[in-house]
Symmetry: C2
Subunit: 196 residues, 2 copies
DNA sequence: CTTCTAATGTAGACACTGTCTACATTACAT
DNA sequence: ATGTAATGTAGACAGTGTCTACATTAGAAG
């Protein structure tokens, strides 16, 4: 066992992620994370200023991954098709990493002291905004963008927090539901876009 | 200072609520709450099994209040008008009590050990479901209900978590935005309801 | 290759927390 | 009035975040 770990920062993040997923954000402790990484209780402080900073890093990684997923989804698509793909990608991220998703948008991490977090968060929002701006007239754009975000965010959040009726546990049913919901919103947008 | 407090349970909840709003759920500690209530560090255990139980009680009170607000909003209204009022009431609750709202739908409180919580939560969802079922055909009901919930929930959550662009800090602008977003979804519903 | 400095990891301490056990006080039903 | 359950107190224990002081080592400078 060498004195220096080699890639402790990554190991700490991995341990933190595992703890976050298994036992919730409140149970992510620096000492436990250090223990898992096989290192003294104070070693994490060489990589993170505080417990909060570790959580912030996990959230930042989450925003990064979400942004990448959305950009990939947008690639090669336009119009409503692109918007739909973005929504699906957003929700897919929440389904795949519910704990991280809830951390990203939850209050257990106070985001004010970590401006870098807000920056990454806004970048992923940009992808969504641009997609909508190409298909909605200027007057209603603002509401259309925020509404789309709120809708996918609401769906994601309810799914991640297991607030749905149990008959949506099956992946397929949930997929279908998501498509239907997005279709409703899309029709609302279409009507605003073509009022004739 | 009498040996018995008289209404300690209520005092503890009040102190907990204050702490929750001022410093976030992670900072709600039984000992601090006891201190604020002017009582020994162990007194809270006569009223709450654990720290988690205190948080669960705060969340349950929140669901109760949300349910009442929604029932009042529904009263005397029908159709889309009723649905709109429900959405507004839901969002208004999140704006008025963001910390409680985030606790109710966040992961820092593990809800599984508190079945009473889920019961109260589902009751408020019922009001929304019934309102929608009166205005949407059966085939698309399920998606319409969940979509409406997701939309207001997403808006509420983003507002409570301060994720909106800063120019919506003004109450009036935010009100107008909410109306516009709800209108989009409503138009989507209307189209589904009258496909001719 | 040597040396020196910054990066990284360790050890110990402190205050604070949740929660357990044992005990004290008091409200209230009998 | 009296006895019992409800309520509150006191002390202890392990676990936590984070501070200070010290140890080891990687890697640049010479």
């Amino acid at each position: 066992m060498p004195y220096h770990h080699g890639d402790l920062r990554r190991a700490l993040l991995a341990a933190g992620l595992s703890l976050l997923e298994k036992r919730g954000p409140a149970q992510v402790s620096l000492r436990e994370v250090a223990r898992v990484a096989g290192v003294s209780h104070n070693a994490p402080y060489r990589h993170f200023d505080s417990r909060e900073a570790l959580l912030a890093a996990l959230a930042a990684d989450g925003f990064e991954a979400l942004g990448v997923a959305m950009e990939q989804a947008a690639e090669g698509r336009t119009g409503f098709e692109r918007l739909r793909a973005l929504g699906i990608a957003y929700i897919a991220f929440a389904r795949a990493q519910p704990a991280v998703y809830l951390l990203m948008f939850g209050p257990e991490l106070v985001k004010d002291p970590f401006p870098a977090l807000k920056a990454v968060a806004e970048r992923s929002f940009e992808v969504l905004r641009q997609a909508i701006e190409t298909i909605v007239p200027v007057e209603t754009r603002r509401a259309a963008v925020i509404g789309a975000w709120a809708l996918v965010h609401g769906l994601s959040h309810l799914i991640a927090d297991h607030q749905f009726p149990p008959d949506f546990a099956e992946e397929d049913k949930l997929d279908a539901l998501i498509e239907d919901v997005l279709a409703i919103y899309r029709q609302g947008l279409a009507r605003g876009a073509e009022p004739h």
